[in-house]
Symmetry: C2
Subunit: 426 residues, 2 copies
């Protein structure tokens, strides 16, 4: 019997049981963090040999003769362009290797668009009366924060199981010239873990926006972050855009933050030659060069795409059991109660759940009071406002397995308690 | 006898001799670069032990327990704040440790001011009808490029031997609300090598700008880059601003680009707590954290300010002879001819020279045709336009000593040839 089918008495009894269990956990005074998609310490250990790749000064010379210890090579060393270009399926003239943060490359790209415009803009976005972005949601809170800080109006687009609502997107971009961009996490989307279908990618590539300087912000953050033997796969957006005659319409982003080290990885941006040249021109005012030693460190350690894939298999071995535990516990503890829906992602960093409407905030609050910090309810929507107050993002990677188990017990009972409260309130 | 005192016949004979010498050099087909302030390869070798400071994962934990391999610590690890705060004479809450580029921190600071305003702004600078910066010149071309890319109007301020013309600065900032900033390289200024006198620093600190959100951009790029036993010294601008009740008026910048590695060093920004908090708030939208592993690498290698000073002595041992050679050759080859003036800097990366009016471009062109690339004439002035066409920036550090000698021979004869041409033209 689902909770919604129960009588008030049955729900009350259910609630009492949950309260008892909850109070027991609370009394344990735990302090657990499942708020952000952070790798665990054991994952960070995997890439430690990366710090042994340099033997002497000569080992710091890149393939093209660049001394990585000195100024120069604004758009990245050729070795890194080759490696990461192959990873993303773009040419070495269609890629820029940046600093330690793809978020910074995204923020900077929007910032440049606001102050300078993008390739093909009539004027900087900041000189437009109104700028809007489409925001498939649930989505990544930091994408939305970039829009908010620049005063870009966000329009929420629903997510389906194969990607965002393309009918809505096609209609809106073709009608409204103020819509200048859209945020996408096309593979293992944050937080739903969805992969965009081939049809969705092709419809993106064929968009016919009213704004000639519209851009798709294609954050391929989880491009190699598989959790199963049968990983999801997405089409190459730049290839599809070229086929559709829209090659300047997309900015692609990726990083090694969750491959090597968060904060000490390498960030990547890709797109048409026009877009890369336009970007590099303004970027060259901002800095002389990024950290090429770190770029070369990555190239020497990974060697090639196979090296990256072999490395990712080690991450998977550590985090797949964590995802399994989360999903198993949801199944055994909440399955069949009809109060929670969730995805089983084939990759990425999150398990996204939907509570009964109006229960997400309360669930997160209950968890917090029992010592478990989750991503704030609403964070996965523009302006932090989930219209149905139901989506919660679970980030299973950071806590050790035993702590994760404890945290999930608290999470499950909190979901049940919040649902029972809600149903009794009605 | 100076060249200007000679008869036309004497100058013609002088010119013929120079031409002969110049053609001999030209025939040698050299390719030498003195265009940028880049360390030489031998300087980069000094800091190589920096890559041996980490022995294992535990060695990557900062003093405050932060695992430098993971996300977090947006404004820098406390160890680095302590070290570089001491270096700059600011508190650990008055500093942000950034990425690999102080230029990027300066660009980003201006960019944020344009899109968001600074602490205390009524509105973003980009919403003002007009924004102007004062630009002491000769100055750093990349500072000027930042203004130019954001459409900030530049007003040239003359440099004196103790710093920029403070009478002019005080008058302008007190009268014109559109003036929002000024670029300063207060110690061993780029390119003149001038140190701002105590009086100049105090007058800066006591400025009473009409624009309430006026900022001094204090690029202390060469704060420990001494060349002599009797180095220049400047007052602490933040202290002086505090005394004058103007503590929010200054942004301080520095980096280890010319201490450890250009492009793989650590950048630093400092200022009042208000300024740092305001900066960090927007910076936190741009990125999650900078490269803390590299921050800790620097702290572990240098240990303390004495460690930095000892390290800088090694740089000095390599580059002081290069500066000496440049100055000696100018003396022996051009001294007494009355066609070139130059500074003898006690530190920094440049020797700045002034030719006869109207001779800088021609001199640089002659050098180029003989295989020696200099910083473009005019680059040291806003919009690349030296009103007197006389300033040239010599960057002696990058070429090995023997190449520097060859380049300086070509430079000296080019100066003489250009001067003779000019005088005969009159």
């Amino acid at each position: 019997m689902t909770l919604t089918e129960m009588s008030r008495e049955q729900i009350s009894a259910f609630k009492s049981e949950c309260e008892k269990e909850y109070e027991e956990y609370k009394a344990m005074g735990m302090k657990l963090d499942m708020s952000r998609g952070k790798p665990g310490a054991d994952q960070l250990d995997i890439a430690m040999p990366m710090f042994d790749v340099f033997t002497n000064a000569a080992s710091m010379i890149a393939d093209d003769g660049t001394d990585c210890r000195n100024y120069g090579a604004l758009t990245g060393i050729s070795d890194a362009k080759k490696l990461f270009g192959e990873l993303l399926g773009v040419g070495t003239d269609e890629i820029i290797i940046g600093g330690n943060s793809s978020l910074a490359m995204m923020y900077d790209t929007v910032s440049r668009a606001v102050t300078h415009g993008v390739y093909g803009s009539d004027k900087p976005w900041g000189k437009c009366e109104k700028v809007k972005f489409l925001c498939p949601a649930p989505g990544y809170d930091r994408h939305f924060a970039i829009c908010e800080t620049f005063g870009i109006e966000m329009i929420t687009v629903p997510m389906h199981s194969d990607g965002p609502d393309m009918d809505m997107i096609e209609k809106l971009v073709s009608e409204d010239e103020a819509i200048k961009g859209i945020w996408c996490v096309p593979l293992y989307s944050n937080p739903d873990g969805i992969a965009y279908s081939d049809e969705v990618v092709r419809r993106f590539a064929r968009l016919s926006p009213k704004a000639k300087d519209f851009r798709i912000f294609w954050d391929n953050a989880y491009c190699v972050h598989h959790l199963t033997d049968t990983p999801d796969h997405i089409l190459n957006i730049l290839d599809e855009c070229k086929k559709a005659g829209n090659e300047d319409m997309v900015f692609i982003f990726a990083s090694t933050s969750k491959i090597s080290f968060p904060g000490a990885g390498v960030a990547i941006m890709a797109g048409s030659v026009n877009n890369m040249k336009h970007t590099a021109k303004i970027m060259g005012i901002q800095c002389i060069s990024y950290d090429k030693i770190n770029q070369l460190r990555h190239v020497k350690y990974f060697k090639d795409v196979d090296g990256i894939m072999a490395h990712m298999a080690k991450h998977r071995a550590i985090i797949a059991p964590k995802f399994k535990m989360v999903l198993d516990m949801l199944d055994s503890s909440i399955g069949g109660l009809g109060i929670l829906e969730w995805n089983k992602p084939n990759g990425g960093y999150f398990v996204s759940v939907n509570t009964l409407d109006g229960c997400a905030k309360r669930t997160v609050q209950l968890c917090k009071e029992a010592g478990v910090v989750l991503t704030g309810a609403g964070a996965t929507f523009p302006y932090g406002k989930d219209p149905n107050d139901r989506n919660i993002r679970i980030a299973p990677t950071y806590p050790p397995l035993n702590e994760l188990e404890a945290a999930m017990k608290i999470f499950c009972v909190s979901v049940k308690l919040a649902a029972a409260e809600k149903l009794l309130e009605a």
